[in-house]
């Protein structure tokens, strides 16, 4: 049986150099083309009761350490895809809304603007440079029966 070995032509050194340069310069842009995803979890915290009604048990210990509330209830959890320079909105209770805008990517960090707004009033307006994995807690807009806490995560 004859085996035919398929030999690929060797690239000339100059061509390899050009391809390397293209990869080095276009690499970051290629990485940025991948969609950026952020998980937003909406919790309501209060001092009434002692239940931890959460889908993610990992939050429980964190909440106990961070805050003094005795009762937590998870209202919503979404994986949001953030296109570059486009606003992604998530409705919150009692007229609040969370607005996320991908500002860009700096090496390994995702630059995101996070705004919690009610009407024309910005409850909080922040720009976060998030290293994956990273987690941030934003709070706490007052609502009927408690306080809202929004957990932003990436890379988990």
């Amino acid at each position: 049986m004859n085996l035919t070995v398929l030999r690929l032509p060797r690239l000339a050194d100059g061509v390899r150099l050009v391809l390397t340069l293209i990869w080095l310069t276009a690499g970051p842009q290629l990485m940025a083309a991948e969609p950026v995803r952020l998980t937003a979890t909406v919790l309501m915290a209060s001092h009434q009761g002692s239940d931890y009604d959460l889908d993610n048990d990992a939050f429980r210990d964190r909440l106990i350490q961070l805050f003094s509330y005795s009762h937590y209830r998870q209202l919503d959890a979404r994986v949001l895809t953030l296109p570059k320079a486009e606003r992604v909105r998530l409705a919150l209770p009692e007229g609040y809304e969370l607005i996320l805008t991908l500002q860009g990517i700096e090496k390994t960090r995702i630059l995101t603007q996070a705004v919690i707004r009610k009407g024309h009033k910005a409850y909080v307006d922040t720009i976060l440079a998030i290293l994956s994995p990273g987690v941030a807690f934003l709070g706490g807009p007052p609502v009927e029966g408690g306080t809202l806490i929004i957990v932003l995560e990436t890379g988990y």
């Binding site: 509330y69 307006d125 709070g139």
Partner: protein, 118 residues
């Protein structure tokens, strides 16, 4: 006059001069003469050059006080933190930003105090 008598005369003359100069009236006239022709210097503490250290200290105090009174609207960047808060602002109240480690997971908290607290 021999040298012995000269010395005695000189000693007597010197004693007489010292007694004359030591008289209260002569000392008063001497004081008045010096005050009239060589007035005393002003207190050194009032001279401009003496105020320079005090003014420098006052400037340092003023800078320190004004620095403490500033209300920065931007958070200081922390390049090494997993979540680097580049900017934070609120129309609802003061904002607190802090980071803690929970089971080796760094957590960033941004909290607005609008009539409630954590």
């Amino acid at each position: 006059m021999n040298s012995g008598k000269q010395k005695d005369a000189g000693r007597l003359y010197g004693d007489w001069i010292r007694r004359e100069v030591a008289r209260p009236e002569v000392r008063l006239e001497k004081r008045q003469f010096l005050d009239a022709h060589f007035p005393a210097d002003r207190a050194t503490v009032l001279r401009p050059v003496s105020l320079i250290p005090a003014l420098a200290l006052l400037a340092v105090v003023l800078v320190w006080v004004s620095d403490g009174m500033r209300r920065p609207e931007t958070a200081a960047p922390r390049p090494g933190a997993p979540v680097d808060v580049r900017r934070v602002a609120s129309q609802a109240g003061p904002v607190l930003v802090y980071q803690i480690n929970h089971q080796d997971v760094p957590i960033t908290v941004i909290w607005v105090f609008a009539g409630g607290g954590p």
